[in-house]
Each structure stands twice: as C-alpha cells, then as structure tokens.
C-alpha cells in the first residue's frame, strides 16, 4: 500500500517537473512584460505534435525530437512576439487577451484540421523499460522527462539570475525605459524571453509526448495547469513555478489515485479558484 502511494507521489513529482518547465515560460513572459499568453498550453500541444512527427514519420528518437521541438517553438515564439505581442502590448487589455486567445484557437484547430481529433499514441518502446528502485517501479520515459525538465528549469533560473543576459532581461522587466537608457534593447530582450518561453514549451511537449495522450485539445488543460502553477508560485518567479509545478503534479497524482482519475483535473481547477479567493499573490509572493 505505502509502496503504491510512494510510487504515485514519485510519478506526480516527475510529471510536476514538466509542468514546472512549461509554466516557467509563462511566468517569465508575464513577469517581464505583463502579458499572459493564453496560447501557452497550445504551444506545449504543438511541441507534442512536432515530436510526434519526428518520432513516427521521420523515425527519430527523443534525442532528435526534443531539440527540434524546442527550436521550432522558440522560432514560433519570436515570430509571435514581433508579429503580434509587440503591438497588442501597447493596446487595451481586450486586445492583449484576444490576441493570444485567438492564437490559441488558430493553433489548436489548425492541428485538429490537419491531424484529426483522434488520440494519437507513440510507439511504446520509444523510451522503453521501467526501473525498479527499492521496489518502486518508474517508467523510463517519465523518469527521463522529469529529470530533464527539472534540470532545464533549474538552468533557466540560473540563466536569469547569474548571467549578463539574465540581468539585462530583469532590467527590462524592472523598467524598460531605464534599461534602454543603459544601452539595453528592450525589444531584443523581450524577443529572447519569448524564444525561451516558447522553447521551454516545445521541450516540455516533446518530453511528455512519449507517455501523455496526444490530442489537439490537450492544450486547454495544460494551459489551465500553467495558470494554476503560475498563480500558485507567484508571477515572474521561476523557483516559485518549480515548487508549485511539483506540488500540483503530486496533488494531481494523489487525487487521481485516491478519488478517481476523472476528478484529478477538477481538484486542480478548484484549487486554483481557492487560491484566487484566499491567496492571489501565490505561495511565495509578497503582498
């Protein structure tokens, strides 16, 4: 019994690491330019489909699929920034939310139209095998996804806090006019932020595509998961997203195991509303 429970918690932590990875992209963009990307979950979905195409049609493995999905999505992020976000940022709130919400629909239904509404599944043996650690069985695909996601999220945190690029981005986030006076180009920094944020979703999508259900509408669920994670972790905070992502992964797994699989999303969404009521600044946020 307790072994099963531990196994459920470990599974939740591994999935939660992937949640943390793509949510850190959302929190980065939100914290830096006060834009919430309503297409964020659909970026992850797109990453899954890029990986799916690489795995099935091109016959490549995760070693090819993950970097390619990251690259494709990062490029998309830059295109979206220059084509849409840069202009709607200056507009009213309506334009901001409509812009990314419309983008979400565009991506979701383009994929729906092209690939159909069916659930796709990847070959089981892509990242095959299970490990047995002290009697706890862990699928190799989940272990790979969780560990890579954890490392990359941590790397993202280091990038933002320890490097010159990170300092420049934080300077733009703090005050873009002042940053400009110091010789930093806000436009370039914000485009880089979009590349990083979208690249993270691409990587996350490729990582979970090996064991998650691949379907065009998965972006809506994952998008809400990202919202929950970011509001739990406090907006703009990558470590916050990491802790919140892991927590949500565990809560989801536990409620799936203890109450029933159909209720796990309900628990997470209810949690979100509870947080908005009682602690909208997040777990680690300041008032």
């Amino acid at each position: 019994m307790s072994f099963v429970l531990v196994q459920v918690i470990v599974g939740g932590l591994l999935l939660g690491a992937v949640y943390a990875l793509f949510s850190s992209g959302l929190t980065l963009v939100w914290g830096m330019m006060n834009v919430v990307n309503f297409a964020h979950g659909d970026f992850v979905m797109l990453g899954m489909y890029v990986a799916y195409v690489v795995y099935t049609l091109l016959g490549g493995g995760p070693l090819l699929g993950a970097p390619l999905a990251t690259l494709v999505l990062a490029t998309l992020g830059v295109v979206v920034y220059f084509g849409l976000i840069r202009d709607v940022m200056k507009g009213p709130m309506l334009a901001q939310i409509l812009g990314t919400f419309g983008l979400a629909l565009l991506l979701r239904y383009s994929v729906f139209w092209w690939f159909g509404a069916n659930f796709l599944s990847l070959p089981e043996n892509l990242v095959g095998g299970t490990f047995d650690v002290f009697g706890i069985r862990i699928q190799a695909s989940r272990l790979l996804a969780g560990v890579v996601a954890l490392l990359v999220t941590w790397g993202l945190h280091l990038l933002l806090t320890r490097t010159t690029l990170g300092s420049r981005m934080l300077a733009v986030a703090e005050d873009s006019t002042a940053a400009q006076l110091m010789g930093i180009r806000p436009d370039t920094m914000q485009a880089i932020a979009w590349a990083i944020a979208a690249g993270a979703t691409g990587l996350a999508g490729a990582l979970i595509a090996t064991f998650f259900y691949v379907v065009p509408t998965v972006g809506e669920t994952l998008g809400i998961v990202a919202f929950v994670t970011v509001s739990l972790g406090g907006f703009g905070s990558v470590p916050g997203a990491l802790v919140a992502g892991l927590l949500i992964g565990v809560i989801e797994s536990l409620s799936g195991y203890l109450i029933g699989a159909v209720y796990k999303d309900m628990v997470v969404y209810t949690l979100f509303l509870g947080f908005l009521w009682f602690r909208p600044q997040g777990l680690m946020g300041k008032t």
Binding site: L84, I97, L105, Y109, W113, I224, M266
Partner: protein
C-alpha cells in the same frame, strides 16, 4: 433625429426579415443570428463596457440551458420555469468568480473564467442528475404552447427578437445610468476612477452579474429551440469563443456591435458547415482564430468602431461647413 430614423428602418427590416426570406433555412438562420446576438450583447456588458475579458461565458449559457431542460426533465414543468433558476445560478457563479478576481488585474479574471467553464463542463459530464455525457432533453411533443417547442423557426425568431430588444434596452439604460459613467471611467483608467471615489470592484461585479444573468437567458432559449442540451453544446469552450468573437468583431463596447458581429459570423459558419460538412468544423475555428488575432492586432474596436471613424472623417468637413454657415448668413 437621423439616428432615430435609421434605427426604425433597421428595426422594420429585422421585423420583416422572416416574412421576406421565408424558407425554413433562412428563418432558422435569422433566429440563430438573434440568439447569438443576445449572448454576445450580454457578454458586451462585462467584456466591452467594463473591459474585463471573460473567456468562459459559456458557463452562464450552460446554466440557463440546463435549468430550462432540467425544469422539464425533472419536474415536468415548462422550460420557461427554468429561466429564473438559471439566472439565480448564473449570478451566484458570477459572484464566486468575480468577487476575488475583479479586485486583481484583468488577467486573473480571464484565467479564472476559463478555469470555471472547464470545471463546470467536467462536473456536469460526471453528474448523473444532469444527464452526464448524454445531456438532458426537452419535451419531444409539446403539451401546450408554454413548452415553447415549435417546428417552425418563426416563433423563435420573434421570441429571440423581443429578448434581444430587452437586452439592448437594459444595456442602453445601464450606459446612461451612474453605473455606465463609472464603467467608462474605470475602463479609461481604473486608478484615476478609484481615486475619485468610483467603487471600481463593486461596479465591475454588478456588470458581471448582469451580464451573467442575461447570458443564461440566451442559453435557456437555445436549449428550447434545439430541444436538448449536452456538455458540448451547453458548456463547450467553443460557445464561449463564438460569443466572444461576435462581440469583438462587431465592436466591443458599442451597443449594436454584437448584433453586427452575429449577423456576419452566424451565416458564415452555417454556410461553411454546409459546404465543407464535418471536415469544416475544424476549419471554421481556424478562421475564427485568425479573425480574432487580426482584430486584436489591427482593429481592437471592431467593425463598427472602424465605420464610425470613417464616417466621422467624412462627416467632419461638412460639419465644419454647417457650423460656419450661420456666421455667413445675414
């Protein structure tokens, strides 16, 4: 004066439409335009006038639809009796979403609306009392006229038209009231409005509750016309999308914007569905997504705002001439 004349001509044309275009397809199309115009006009109160973008308005639509069908399915009452219940539930849900989020920045509100809509869909899909995945049906054979179950779309057309006029009347009255002035001030600058003593959170909450109640009426009417409701047709995200895009395309924050948006998009969707069949469903929403992105990027005010601007540009020189004329007159 000229505005009143134009409005009466437009209203006369709308009243005469189902008599001029009398095939069942055309009448049904007209009824659907009015139905979506009701929902989009209701969205306009919170999304357009208050500037708070709800992307989960379907939850109120579903409340109305399920209340109307539930009144018949569980209590053998006319679906009409479900309407008040639907309004009460919708206003309560609006309070649950609105009280915490309307104090925060607009992003939180939008995120909460999408989460609540998805939560409602999941709960209803797993609730046996509400028909779970199958949904609830209305009366198959009408027992009397109050079941509002007609084969022809004509009675629905006039029922929807009356409801739309009431909705627009309430909206117009709201914009002229103190609440309308508060909303305009809040939309321009919430901080400035608050500093002058406008109760910003409360005003937005009232607008949201009003919008929710009216949207639920649209949902109830929808369920009566189609005779059933299931999680996809009553609570699917695509209904939210339609409501949102019609208001935004026509002109968010303008009284007749949603009606114009509905008059453009409903026929477009019906035609594309007829031409492309099942395959068209995905494509329609690709186009919807593209339209929303383009509006946001180039014309956040929608079509009516664009027309108003062009009109003003054309009218300005003549207005100046008119203003100058009395000076030259003896």
């Amino acid at each position: 004066m000229r505005r009143a004349l134009w409005l009466s001509v437009a209203l006369a044309l709308i009243v005469a439409y189902p008599l001029l275009f009398s095939t069942p397809f055309q009448q049904r199309l007209g009824a659907l335009v009015l139905l979506y115009a009701i929902a989009a006009s209701a969205w306009n109160i919170i999304g357009g006038y208050a500037g708070q973008v709800s992307v989960g308005h379907v939850v109120f639509f579903g409340c109305g639809a399920y209340a109307a069908m539930g009144a018949y399915a569980h209590f053998a009452l006319s679906p009409l009796f479900g309407i008040p219940a639907g309004i009460v539930f919708s206003v309560l849900i609006a309070a649950v979403i609105g009280v915490p989020t309307l104090r925060l920045s607009g992003h939180y509100f939008s995120m909460a609306t999408i989460a609540v809509a998805e939560l409602a869909r999941l709960i209803v899909t797993n609730t046996e009392y509400l028909g779970a995945g199958v949904g609830l049906s209305g009366p198959t054979v009408p027992r009397n006229v109050f079941d509002l179950s007609f084969i022809s779309s004509l009675p629905y057309y006039y029922l929807f038209l009356a409801t739309l006029l009431i909705t627009l009347g309430i909206t117009w009255w709201m914009t002229r009231s103190r609440m309308g002035f508060y909303l305009r001030a809040i939309k321009d600058s919430e901080r400035a409005a608050r500093s002058l003593g406008a109760p910003a959170s409360r005003t937005k909450l009232y607008a949201y509750m009003l919008s929710a109640g009216l949207t639920s009426v649209a949902g109830a009417l929808y369920a009566m016309m189609f005779g059933f409701v299931d999680p996809e047709s009553g609570l699917g995200i695509l209904i939210s999308v339609k409501i949102l895009i019609m208001a935004a395309l026509g002109g968010a924050g303008l009284l007749f914007g949603p009606l114009v948006g509905a008059a453009i998009l409903v026929p477009l969707e019906e035609i594309s569905n007829n031409l492309l069949g099942g395959k068209g469903a995905g494509l329609t929403f690709v186009v919807y997504g593209a339209i929303i992105v383009l509006i946001a990027r180039f014309q956040p005010g929608g079509i009516l705002a664009l027309l108003n601007r062009l009109w003003a540009k054309r009218a300005t020189p003549s207005k100046e001439a008119a203003a100058q004329e009395p000076v030259h007159a003896p």
